[in-house]
């Protein structure tokens, strides 16, 4: 299993980047290859970059409440490009009431405030393999 490549992206207009920044750094220090997009990316820009960078995972961070539109849109565009194998996860201010909606839309996991960074890294290692296929869930 090679080194996993993860893109941490901030879709939409939300500028609250502290969580994304800190996670990006942690994952880099933990041995992942990390690309951080910075703020204000459109779903199109994120998908283009994800394909260019040949990432295994896209992590979307949104604290503005616009996740219900933005997160599924990223998944939709990835599928249009035939990149179904890229695992999409999300984080930020996401009410529990939206988890099922996001899951149905193809977001594999959602990490909310207070989640330890190591838990996110562990989830990724458990659920994603470098060849792009999700490994078996270990619930």
């Amino acid at each position: 299993m090679g080194t996993l490549r993860i893109m941490i992206a901030k879709p939409g207009l939300d500028g609250h980047d502290r969580g994304a920044r800190v996670l990006a750094r942690f994952l880099r220090d933990s041995g992942f290859e990390v690309i951080y997009t910075g703020c204000h990316q459109t779903p199109e820009q994120i998908v283009r970059a994800a394909l260019q960078e040949d990432v295994d995972i896209v992590g979307l961070s949104c604290l503005s409440g616009a996740h219900r539109y933005l997160f599924p849109r990223v998944v939709e565009l990835l599928r249009e490009q035939g990149a179904d194998d890229i695992v999409v996860i999300g984080g930020g201010i996401i009410p529990e009431g939206d988890f099922a909606f996001l899951s149905d839309a193809g977001i594999r996991a959602v990490f909310t405030p207070g989640t330890p960074l190591e838990d996110i890294a562990a989830w990724i290692r458990t659920h994603v393999a470098r060849d792009g296929r999700e490994t078996a869930w270990t619930e």
Partner: protein, 587 residues
């Protein structure tokens, strides 16, 4: 016989009643460390400490502030022995204004209770504002939604999904008129958190006042309008630093001439702190941003510093480490007074006043056990009051999850009222002055903040430092360090890494109806149908000319909003002339 070493220094003595081990009254020369008697007592205490040993009460290994400044187990006169009251502490209303700008403190005028507020449509927010005023807030504070903050209209593809979620949606003057409908703009001051499009929203406020017959000389308020901290921390971005600063100088010049009661900048540390900076970084970067703006106005507009400095205002965070925050705010006052007097040669004492709004720290609140947040906000609000803030917003307990519900915002409001009317802390000025700990901490924070200012000066100023990524990297380091400390348990967040319960506590959350976007789109379409397109085009062309020639944009901006040009149409002019700036993505 006077000791010759002290001949040139006035001798001050302190009479102590007989402590254990000393006979009768002892005159202690406080120019010396503490005199024989106190030294004896101190040694005794030090022995007691060694014998007892420091335990693990409170936080594990945490004998530092939340910003990692070391905290001693005890402070005594020795910690402030080099201070002179007149020179270093002084009286309120006198340089260096450490104890406050006004001789009468809060007894003369209480801080403004100013709750940051906005969501949905203009009508929704107008209703919430009226409720807050009725419940006792004394100043308004506008929160705009992300499209508005970023200079986009609701119908922009960039705005999809964002309308009305983080604040009120404003596309045109018609929205703004509904926002302030029924609010007496000559009798209440309004602060607006708005940065790249600050000229536009301020123009709308001015137009709204004029349309209700109120002259610009009679409106008071604040626009945040502090782009340097956007590049550093808050990240509502549009144009590059250089033209952004130019627009800010335009507003300062316009305000100086035509809107004398308006604070045209709120030089902010709040967001710098929220992004993960330490207290020292928050203070230093904020003051250095202020220096950058003052330099620019003087150079670009030729104004005398005393002409505009009295209307510069500031905005600080009040975080959870109680004494660190009080000390930081006191240091801010003394430092700004010195900067104005010594660096900029201001003569008017009002130029030397540090006037600031404070917001309790959003980043200190937890999603877990949300009712604990009421306690955090109360402690932080108390620190802000003891720090002498002129204006205060208290966060609501549910703000980790959503904008405040009616009930939660009421508690936040009552928090300030209880502090003001029940606790007595506002009854005397700067009550923590003279505390060995607080004065020592104020000195330490100040000293470290000067060092950051010196570094940025050497880099060529704040714009140069931003280009080099310096403040952004400092913040990235500090925020990562804090996160690691938290996850190791070196810093505690109750309910998150200590006293954790699996019990879920459900709180009602404010939900922004997805319909708001459709409603707002309808409103925008209607305005575009009604307005005179030629007038709009003329106004935008005139604005564009002003941008190109370097004239002050404000008068043209006011004309543009009156023609019902939209927020984005005006901002697109800025984008076209000045270029766009994108987040560098430093982490």
């Amino acid at each position: 016989m006077p000791d010759k070493r002290y001949e040139t220094t006035p001798r001050r003595t302190l009479a102590l009643k007989s402590p254990a081990g000393c006979d009768g009254e002892v005159a202690v020369d406080i120019e010396k460390e503490t005199g024989n008697c106190n030294t004896q007592l101190k040694r005794q205490w030090e022995d007691d400490v060694r014998q007892t040993g420091e335990g693990e009460t409170g936080q594990k290994n945490r004998w530092t502030t939340v910003s990692d400044m070391p905290v001693k187990i005890l402070y005594d006169p020795g910690d402030i022995e080099n201070m002179e009251y007149a020179r270093d502490i002084g009286y309120p209303g006198q340089y260096p204004f450490l104890r406050g700008n006004q001789a009468t403190g809060y007894r003369g005028r209480l801080w403004t209770i100013r709750m940051f507020s906005g969501f949905g449509t203009a009508g929704d927010t107008n209703r919430r504002w009226k409720k807050l005023l009725k419940e006792g807030e004394t100043g308004l504070s506008a929160a705009f939604d992300y499209p508005t903050l970023m200079g986009y209209d609701t119908d922009s593809p960039m705005a999809r999904g964002e309308c009305g979620k983080c604040g009120v949606a404003i596309d045109t003057l018609d929205d703004y008129l509904e926002l302030v409908a029924g609010i007496p703009l000559d009798r209440i001051t309004t602060s607006m958190t708005i940065n790249p499009p600050a000229t536009v929203l301020w123009a709308m406020y001015c137009a709204a006042a004029e349309l209700t017959g109120i002259p610009l000389t009679e409106i008071g308020g604040t626009i945040q309008n502090d782009m340097l901290k956007e590049f550093i921390a808050q990240k509502t971005l549009m144009c590059p630093p250089e033209p952004s600063v130019k627009l800010i100088s335009d507003t300062i010049e316009f305000g100086t001439r035509y809107v004398p009661r308006w604070n045209t900048v709120s030089i902010s540390g709040y967001h710098i702190r929220e992004a993960g900076a330490t207290a020292v970084q928050e203070l230093a970067f904020t003051l250095r941003d202020g220096i950058e703006y003052v330099d620019d106005v003087i150079a670009r507009k030729g104004l005398n510093v005393d002409a505009f400095a009295p209307r510069l205002s500031f905005f600080f965070n009040s975080h959870i480490d109680f004494f660190e925050e009080v000390a930081k705010m006191r240091a801010a006052r003394r430092m700004w007074a010195s900067i104005m007097k010594n660096r900029f040669k201001a003569r008017d004492p009002r130029s030397m006043w540090m006037r600031f709004h404070t917001q309790t720290a959003g980043c200190s609140l937890t999603a877990q056990q949300p009712y604990n947040n009421v306690v955090r906000t109360a402690c932080e609000a108390m620190a802000a009051v003891l720090g002498g803030t002129q204006s205060l917003h208290t966060n609501s307990l549910d703000e980790v999850w959503c904008l405040p519900s009616d009930h939660a915002v009421e508690i936040a409001l009552r928090t300030q009222q209880i502090i003001a009317d029940e606790t007595g802390v506002a009854g005397t000025i700067d009550p923590l002055a003279g505390s060995y700990y607080v004065e020592a901490l104020t000195n330490d924070i100040e000293e470290q903040a000067w060092e950051y200012i010196r570094i940025i000066d050497e880099m060529g100023g704040m714009r140069a430092a931003i280009e080099a990524g310096y403040p952004q990297r400092e913040i990235a380091e500090a925020s990562y360090r804090f996160q690691r400390q938290m996850e190791r348990g070196d810093k505690t967040m109750v309910g998150v890494n200590k006293y954790v319960t699996s019990e879920k506590i459900d709180i009602p959350v404010l939900d922004i109806d997805e319909q708001v976007e459709d409603v707002q789109l309808g409103r925008l379409k209607a305005v575009k149908r009604r307005r005179n397109d030629r007038d709009v085009r003329t106004a935008l062309n005139n604005l564009k000319s002003a941008c190109i020639t370097g004239d002050n944009v404000m008068p043209l901006c006011i004309e543009a909003v009156k023609s019902r040009a939209t927020v984005q149409e005006i901002c697109d002019v800025y984008r076209e002339v000045y270029g766009e700036y994108h987040d560098q993505g430093i982490y």
